[in-house]
């Protein structure tokens, strides 16, 4: 056991120490501490949007960097994601009430034949944290699922994830079908997953390949802005 006086009392920390402490707690996957931290900041009058971006999203960004650099591996990322989810579940209803910015709507799913969903879930979470509305289709999606959801949801962005060399070519099937139906240019298409790369993204006709969730958020913002600037 840690000594008694090493235990931190979160509510006694000033904001400028509490927020970095929450980054640490997120890094360590401590869901209860994150819940507590979020509640303290709310009591102190922080807006839900500020808590989300400054405490949670920023914390996950650090987790993302250390995953990329091989310092953290899959279980740590999952635990951190769970902690973030705990914080988000408090903030989500409040964000809607307080009218936080809505940047666009994304339909996302892992492609047919592929069961890997950790990366996709992380992207969804970070995109949601940044102010995008997310429609998550889960795993193993045939082209019909994507098309149906894009239309039903009047989405702006399609996100596809694949972790297997055998399933990544299916992204091209989806994009080609969209071209055939004449709807390709109605959407921004973003793709990702560890075995993909920039060249592959270009070859299949996606608008962007993103190597991680942080890049995905920035890319989505850029592409949305570019889209709005286009003449109608």
């Amino acid at each position: 056991m840690v000594e008694e006086d090493d235990d931190l009392i979160l509510s006694e920390l000033p904001d400028e120490e509490l927020v970095p402490q929450m980054h640490d707690d997120l890094y360590d996957g401590l869901a209860d501490e994150i819940t507590e931290g979020v509640n303290i900041l709310l009591e102190r009058g922080w807006t839900p949007y500020d808590i989300l971006t400054k405490a949670l999203v920023e914390g996950m960004r650090i987790v993302g960097i250390d995953f990329r650099d091989g310092i953290l591996f899959v279980p740590e990322v999952l635990l951190a994601a769970n902690a973030m989810k705990a914080g988000m579940s408090i903030l989500k209803p409040l964000l809607i009430e307080t009218g936080a910015p809505r940047l666009g709507k994304m339909v996302i799913g892992t492609v047919k034949g592929d069961i890997h969903d950790i990366g996709k879930n992380l992207v969804s979470m970070m995109m949601e944290g940044a102010g995008f509305e997310i429609v998550d289709l889960g795993i193993n999606n045939p082209v019909e699922n994507y098309l149906e959801a894009l239309e039903r949801e009047r989405a702006d962005i399609l996100g596809m994830s694949a972790l297997l060399t055998t399933t990544m070519p299916y992204m091209k099937v989806v994009i080609d079908t969209m071209k055939e139906k004449g709807v390709r240019d109605d959407y921004i298409i973003m793709v990702g997953g560890a075995p993909l790369n920039e060249e592959f993204g270009r070859a299949i006709g996606a608008d962007a390949y993103c190597r991680d969730a942080a890049v995905a958020v920035e890319m989505a913002k850029t592409l949305m802005a570019r889209r709005h600037n286009l003449p109608a």
Partner: protein
């Protein structure tokens, strides 16, 4: 004959001890993933492929496939002066085609297919079953032996059993693709399935396309 311990194959790999000492005319070096060491040595013995020399990279590279192409290329460069022919016993292994591109550049052949589950089963058969077996998690002889080191611990299930649902929640069964006939491995694989909460199936594959690929390296096979 080389002494082999599977556990060493996870982290450390294996080097052909003579590799750097001289030049070996007519000899073929197989640069393999540690997860295939025992199987390649078994095939070598069975078929009397005495011309084959084996060197292995740590199987753990599979958890970081982006490191595989450079690691294999380095092993090729190191061995090249000493061997007439080099063969890479890796499949794509999640490198998104980069390992194949690298081997092509270096003029070295490799095993066809996406990963070892596929080439043990036979690439064509595995692909044909892909839809039906989409919710199956596969183990090979190596993975049954190294289940804790390769699956249970790296996925954090030893420390955080609650992650089981996030990791394996979409899976229905575990299929043990058996290379050798070994009742103990069968029992152990069934235990792995129980630990993951999955139904258990066993399929004898033998060495599949790995055997076919290595057979092309024997002197008689040279066209």
């Amino acid at each position: 004959m080389l002494a082999l311990n599977d556990h060493g194959m996870v982290d450390a790999g294996l080097s052909a001890p003579q590799a750097l000492a001289g030049v070996f005319p007519g000899r073929v070096l197989v640069i393999a993933c540690g997860a295939l060491a025992r199987e390649i040595l078994a095939l070598r013995k069975l078929n009397r492929w005495d011309h084959l020399e084996l060197t292995c990279l740590p199987a753990k590279l599979h958890l970081h496939p982006e490191l595989i192409p450079d690691a294999v290329a380095r092993a090729i460069e190191d061995a090249r002066p000493h061997y007439d022919r080099i063969f890479v016993a890796y499949a794509d292994c999640g490198t998104g085609g980069l390992l194949a591109a690298r081997c092509r550049e270096l003029g070295v052949e490799m095993v066809a297919g996406p990963h070892c589950y596929s080439f043990f089963d036979g690439n064509a058969a595995f692909a044909a079953r892909a839809d039906a077996e989409m919710r199956a998690f596969f183990l090979t002889d190596f993975l049954v032996r190294q289940f804790d080191a390769f699956v249970w611990k790296p996925m954090g299930l030893d420390r955080h059993p609650e992650l089981r649902e996030m990791l394996f929640g979409h899976y229905e069964r575990l299929i043990y693709l058996a290379q050798a006939q070994d009742a103990r491995l069968d029992t152990e694989a069934a235990r792995c399935a129980r630990r993951l909460g999955l139904a258990y199936e066993r399929r004898t594959t033998g060495y599949g396309d790995l055997a076919t690929a290595l057979a092309t390296l024997s002197p008689e096979a040279v066209a």
